[in-house]
Amino acid sequence: MTRPPATAPDPLGRLVDGDALARCAQEPIAVPGAIQPHGALLAVTEPDLAVVVASANAADVLGTDPSGATLADLLTPAELDRLRAALAGDLAEADPLQVTVGGREADLVLSRSGGLLVTEWEPVAGAGQAGAAWHRRLPRVLQRLSAPTRLEGLTGVLAREVRALTGFDRVMVYRFDADWNGEVVAEDRRADLEPFLGLHYPAGDIPAQARALYATNWLRLIPDAGYTPVPLVPPVVPGTGAPLDLSGAVLRSVSPVHLEYLANMGVTASMSVSLIDRGTLWGLVACHSYSGPHRPSYADRTAAEFLGRTASLLLHTAVEAADRDAVVAVARREADLAGAVGRSPRAPAAALVDGEVTALDLLPAAGAAVRLDGRLHLLGTTPPADRVAALVPAVLRAGGATDRLTLDLPGFTDLAADASGVLAVEVGGGRGDYLAWFRPETPREVSWGGDPRTSKVTDGRLSPRRSFDRWTETVRGTARPWRGHEVAAARSLARHLGEAVLARAGEDDRLATALQRTLLLEELPKVPGVALGARYRPSEADVVGGDWYDLVPLPSGRLAVVLGDVAGHGLSAASVTAQLRHALRAALLRDEGPAAALAELNRLVTTLLPGEMATAVVARLDPASGELALASAGHLPAVHAAGGSAELVGDGRGPALGLLDDADYPQARLWLGAGERLLLYSDGLVERRDRPLPDRLEALRHAALAAEGGPQEVVDAVVATLDPAGTDDVTVVGLARV
């Protein structure tokens, strides 16, 4: 029993090194075998009150050597009566008994330990007194303490009132997290002192044994951190062979290691009051003096403890109120975002990324990722896009949330700084879309109240900075945990988004299909001298392509045949297709020839539909003469089947529509003899990923040559022979002279 463990209150004083911690963890905390010198301790038998153990300073404090004495020898008969009355009831109710020993007033504090009555005698002289004025203010103080609905308010009032009451230079409220790491959450201090608000301490700063003691013992005091411990005599209780358990004693001596730390930090006196939330140690009120010994009176300490107990009762309501506020705020933002998505269902990503409230505002996080329609948008501080694309699916597979990424998933050590916390939710629709939020490694989130490098009350070895560094090591790789209501809000938003996207996709498909249908002819026009065939097969994939065809009888009696294809799929391609079809029809009706019509259409695309690209082929047939004028804007070559041969039409080719601001198109002139056929088609007919396009064109040429019958039979035979992949629209138009 040489080194009592660190049990004194002050968190900043708990800067123990590893060795000391190891010793502390093994030392019996409650039996230091010594007391502090600002009072004397006598352990006596009951009911005889015979002194069994005494502190070595008892004769000095009490003015009488108590060896072999009983308390009857020290107290007046009246005091003895009060003592005996107290012993019959609750000891705590009686504390302190005011007595006079050796001609001095003293507070006599009673407790029981190991079958003995422990009496502690603390002279009143030398103790600081807040005075009656403070106690008269108590109702108002209590009112102030219970008024705040938020935790910051409650702890702030607590720090201020405890300091006003006890006169310490600094009073901090210190809060434990789930792993017993601590943080200074409120502070009241002498104006010239460096702030400690926001400082963090590793769990190791307050050993588990000490925490256990604090959970049952509300107040600890070291009036003079430079004190010399006073041994108990004899060191073991006669007849038991065990040292006296001092866990309930107010004079209990603390670890010399702890005293050394206090001295290093310039702390000359300290006190702490436990904050206990429903049976669990929640935090401490930690008090420091830097200007010599400081001993608040027993009455003031009792009042401070009372404030601590009262605040303890209020803690969970304040914490719950703060939680409730957070839950309400997250729910409100979730509703805002869902509303924004509802207002612009065609652009849900824009609603989440560009709006006044973005996905990043949903919950407290440093960064967010929104992947919708396969496009990734990043908000705030996130890993780079390529790492996000790897990270989020991995987190989704691992359950969707982590607050210690590098410990939970291999391969992401480079992301610890920005994404130690990842919350990811899938957005339905089967496109691999998701929402994700990122929290940085905890130390990055934490700010110092003051500049630790200019600390005046610390030295190098035992500075708060050093403790902060050690705390940083403890929490490396971890982020603030995701709360239940945050996960729920993220899931709810994703669900809402998935529904909106699905509804939009369904609506788009219906619209596009309807639009496409208007582009196809219900019935092929009857043109004298011309036989026509057409086939349109929509893609098997659930998307609408950009194919169109048109047959335009011209005023001159000629017939223009159009086959076009807008690059892209879906609603936007379908609407571009509709515009092109009608514009081309108007241009053709001027009857200036296919090339002129395509040149005009090209101008329209580049000016009105910039960024769009389409191909088209136009053939104009004079049924009477068989003269064919043909122009192609980047389209696949028409097939001219004549007698025993079928040729791809290589002439009359110009650039695709939308490529050049102004393009001229050459016009080919050929003849369609009686019984000859011309086939126009879209790329869906010949495009196959497993076969090169030139081979497919050759296959088409052969199929057109082999087919027999009228244009419709030829069209059907060609489609059957080529067996196009179902991934794209297939459109084929055939014409012949009859």
Binding site: G374, R375, G546, D565, V566, A567, G568, H569, P610, G611, E612, M613, T615, G634, H635, L636, P637, R653, G654, P655, A656, G658, L659, L660, A663, D683, E687, R689, P692, L693, P694, D728
Partner: protein
């Protein structure tokens, strides 16, 4: 072949090598890469389709868009597509993409370097 866009530098110029099938599904990836390159305002940029095994009209349209953006950014864009890559080269030829953007046989024989 898995689609991928690799960034390489050839002859001191940034080049995007497009592997696999360039179609409506993969076009956004190329678009992102092109935007990222153009954001740095390079003097020239190469899109290399040597290893592109298939290109549909969406892919072609993306080349057109890339060419327009490059022109706006003052970057000279070149597309590399050797004749041997018939599948893609035919699409380029049909659309006459070379009228908008230089299409060359290989990255080492681009206009800017021959004879300079």
């Amino acid at each position: 072949m898995q689609f991928a866009v690799h960034r390489a530098a050839g002859h001191g110029r940034p080049a995007l090598r497009v592997r696999g099938e360039l179609d409506i599904a993969t076009v956004p990836q190329l678009a992102q890469c092109v935007d990222a390159e153009l954001a740095a305002g390079p003097r020239s940029l190469v899109i290399d389709l040597t290893d592109t095994v298939f290109m549909d009209s969406s892919g072609a349209r993306q080349l057109v868009r890339a060419a327009r953006r490059a022109a706006e950014a003052g970057t000279s864009l070149q597309v590399v597509c050797p004749r041997e890559n018939k599948a893609v080269r035919l699409v380029i030829d049909l659309l006459e993409l070379q009228r908008l953007v230089p299409v060359v046989e290989s990255a080492s024989l681009t206009d800017g370097e021959v004879g300079s």
